[in-house]
Amino acid sequence: MRIYFLCFLLFSFSFSFFSQENKKNKWKEKVELSGFVKYMNTASVVDLDSLITDNLIHNRIRFKAYLSDKITTVIEMRNRIFYGEVTRLNPYLGKQLEKDNGQVDLSFVSLDRSPLVIHSILDRAYMRYSDDNWELTVGRQRINWGVNLAFNPNDLFNAYSLVDFDYQERPGVDAVRFQYYGDDMSSFEGAVQIGNSFDSSVIAGLWKFNKWKYDFQFLAANYFKDIAIGTAWAGNIKNAGFKTEISYFQPKTKFFESDGALSLSSTLDYSFKKGTYINASILYNSSGKNKPINSSNLFQTFIGDISAKSLMPSKWTYFGQVSGVFNPALNGSFAVFYMQGINLALFMPSIVYNINDDWELMLTAQSAFGELNTKFQSMGSAIFLRTMFSF
């Protein structure tokens, strides 16, 4: 399976080069190259007397070629250079990064010499055929079915966490995706994330339409070891936005005897005059925990282990965000996650300064407070200073 997939990708690469040869004069119309380079300095505080720092140079290269009116190839590469004290403290970082979860190994660690690790991965590599009312996409791609900002129970293929602010693009999945577009914003979509067996694959269908000024969607899937069904809507209550996503997962083994898992998220958002925006969301995860977890590895629980089935470790999670524009160059936001039961709060203030059209400076902090061994205390903070150049 892996080999077929690789052959297909190689074929698409070579095909793209051949067709460019023939039409050199239209080079610019046919090929788009863009991306960014970021430098981020992280200072992590566990206790006030121990501060450790780390550095990350993060580059993304996006390549898009219009091979014909209907065929597009997209390849995106993520390159990162880690160096500093945190990198030194994790001797397994290189090994962890090397692993590619897809069907084809497109992840490479080119240097792993503590405290310096260089990692590259192709997280998009697909070909797309687009006709008037249908599209077929094959390869590593992002399939995003979420409608909410904070929590997306419908995002079966690539669950997203706002905590992971430095990787909005998310890893791609190796999949085949077919989209059919009907009238009046209706569409049907089928997608298969190829695994080595039925229980390591996702096979899903999504039906979308717009009615009564609401976007609606329904989905059904073979989701790894579960059967999943879900629905979502996005509309308004007066001038506020109202969005809800629900997914239900039932294990295939002992289908009738076992308990399923419900993942539900609802959001209200509103924009005030002068650019202040507020978002209030709630997430219910029926399989979540309802008491303190006493784990010191916090960020793993926020970012590492999330899936559409379990977006947050707690049964009930509340999210609130206020963002505002001070002037066109400067904007800020303040977000809070609170996990009931686990009794843990995460605060995320952030300021972004647009230096000019291409350069941006961002200062963000993440600070967690929670119950650890029956005491409510600070559970660590990190401050991130990031410079970004887009091209």
Partner: protein
């Protein structure tokens, strides 16, 4: 008695004609800007006393209900799309590959940091349907003979302005100047059109500036690099499914 009545009738009917004309003028100016459908390429510059930002955009529109705009530069925002269908608005973010439906309250917000609101960009028909119109005098603007019109919002209209004063030139129905007053009749924003050019067979201002008067040194300048009218636009351009395919 008969004479008095007929004078009154003549007076009323001429008043009626006069107000009809005001509506007609606004209607003509608006219809000229829109056509059945339109395609524009524009450069938007946000000017602040010590800072400046330039964006380029492509926009497609059909009638008053459907419009879609694609940001083509700067690099960081390239590929972002704003889609409007009647009263519904969506925003596509290419880095997330996700389309998010925006709350209606977002419409009164600044469009991407400019001095225009989202409403200003997508709700252009408002001047015709949401206001009552009256010609108050005639003036010369940019060397052209203009009607000066006063627009007052209709009671049921959901508009943010308390009053608009609009200058429209008599030969080409171009909107050369608009004064925006708040509910307390205080002048808050100014719009000027200049650099007249022929776009197809229509003469229009190719540069428009919006000036918020309360902040000195702030303005937004829109320059139309291309403006095509009555071009056939496939209806799927105005769907959430197509936003990632626009180019």
């Amino acid at each position: 008695m008969m004479k008095k009545i007929s004078i009154l009738i003549i007076l009323f009917s001429s008043l009626n004609i006069y107000s009809q004309t005001a509506l007609e003028i606004i209607h003509k100016a608006d219809a000229k800007l829109r056509g059945e459908s339109s395609y524009t390429e524009m450069t938007i510059t946000i000017v602040r006393p010590k800072w400046k930002k330039t964006m380029t955009m492509k926009s497609w529109s059909e009638g008053t209900d459907y419009s879609v705009s694609l940001v083509t530069s700067p690099a960081k925002e390239k590929g972002s799309v704003f889609l409007k269908r009647k009263n519904e608005v969506w925003n596509y973010l290419p880095s997330l590959e996700r389309t998010i439906k925006l709350p209606p309250s977002m419409m009164t917000q600044s469009f991407m940091g400019t001095d225009l609101t989202n409403d200003d960009l997508v709700k252009q028909s408002s001047m015709v349907v949401d206001y009552s119109h009256k010609i108050i005098e005639e003036e010369i603007v940019e060397g052209l003979n203009c009607w000066k019109l006063e627009l007052l919002p209709n009671e049921e209209a959901t508009v943010v302005w308390g009053k608009l004063i609009v200058w429209i030139d008599k030969s080409d129905y171009m909107q050369l100047k608009v004064e925006f007053y708040d509910e307390d009749e205080e002048l808050v924003n100014l719009m000027n059109g200049y650099n007249f050019k022929m776009f197809g067979n229509k003469k229009l201002p190719s540069k428009i500036e919006f000036i918020p008067l309360e902040d000195e040194g702030n303005k937004t300048v829109i320059e139309y690099n291309s403006w095509e009218f009555d071009k056939e636009i496939p209806s799927n351009y105005f769907t959430t499914q197509y936003v990632s395919r626009l180019k």
